[in-house]
């Protein structure tokens, strides 16, 4: 499969994303933010970092990059898009995902491994999740507190749009396991159509056991499974 990885000034996870995809045996290429088209791509990754210094709000300036109009069109035509960390913030700012990310509850930048519970295993991003439904992946963010108002949350819950929630190692969604104060421990969500998802943790930094965890692979494997099925039909 062919992945495109968007590159913004101030991004820092683009190379990690490309490495993770290639380590899984698939193709990955960079797409500079000034490009105006997404071509030859089965999926797009919007990586983490601090695009445009996170000035004004995280993702607020990046969402107006030329490549973003192409990404909106790509998403609207059903293409698979995954936003990671700053990429998640950019997708929320662009209106491709519901809600917003605000400053962490304790105001600290959190950089550590956390546990995620897979809340909906029937999606293009979670279908290859392990039996346990628990993943250990790293976070590295200061503005990762997910917020959406009550009506939006109710709609997301009934539509299965909440994909990952912070939990402890037994899978319990405890307050103590919530690193940033996110409403309902939400770590990642998808859009109504299920083809655009975003999460604050970094699965691309957890694809090889030599760096502490390989459980992040499950998300990319889910996407690859979905794409393989599509290409067979």
């Amino acid at each position: 499969m062919r992945f495109s990885v968007l590159q913004f000034p101030g991004g820092n996870s683009d190379q990690d994303c490309v490495h993770a995809v290639r380590a899984l045996g698939h193709e990955a290429k960079y797409v500079w933010h000034k490009e105006s088209a997404i071509t030859d791509s089965d999926a797009v990754l919007v990586p983490g970092g601090f695009s445009y210094g996170d000035y004004l709000r995280a993702g607020a300036i990046a969402r107006f990059s030329p490549i973003m109009q192409a990404l909106v069109d790509y998403a609207k035509s059903g293409g698979l898009v995954l936003g990671i960390c700053n990429g998640f913030q950019i997708l929320c700012e662009a209106g491709l995902l519901p809600g917003a990310l605000i400053l962490n509850r304790e105001l600290h930048f959190r950089c550590e491994h956390v546990f995620l519970s897979v809340a909906n295993r029937e999606t293009a991003f979670t279908r290859a999740s392990s039996e346990s439904g628990i993943m250990r992946v790293p976070i590295a963010h200061g503005e990762g507190c997910y917020f959406a108002d009550e009506p939006t949350l109710a709609k997301m819950t009934s539509g299965g749009q909440i994909l990952w929630q912070y939990c402890d190692q037994t899978g319990a969604l405890s307050e103590g396991a919530n690193p940033n104060g996110s409403v309902q421990n939400i770590a990642g969500v998808c859009n109504e159509q299920g083809n655009v998802a975003g999460l604050m943790p970094h699965p691309e930094r957890a694809c090889e056991s030599v760096i502490g965890s390989s459980e992040g692979k499950e998300i990319f494997e889910s996407m690859i499974q979905t794409l393989s099925e599509k290409s067979q039909n």
Binding site: I102, L103, R105
Partner: protein, 78 residues
């Protein structure tokens, strides 16, 4: 002419900075303050305060300068 834009977190949104400032105020003995919201303030030189320009600036506030999911804004001209 200047436009002065104040952006504040919506009531329903957690404001950890506001809470931290409130705690510090109490700690320093400035009693009686019950709620602090920390927002942003932008000041810009603008060509006029005509209805057309006000509308343009309002649009910019909605679309870019604030995030309507989490923030409210107010614009004043001076």
């Amino acid at each position: 002419m200047k436009a002065k834009i104040t952006i504040t977190p919506k009531k329903a949104v957690l404001d950890p900075q506001g809470k931290a400032v409130l705690n510090a105020l109490e700690h320093l003995g400035y009693d009686g303050v019950s709620d602090v919201r920390v927002g942003k303030y932008l000041e810009m030189d603008v060509p006029s305060d005509s209805p057309e320009f006000r509308e343009r600036l309002n649009e910019a506030c909605h679309r870019f300068l604030s995030n309507p999911v989490i923030e409210d804004f107010q614009v004043e001209f001076e």
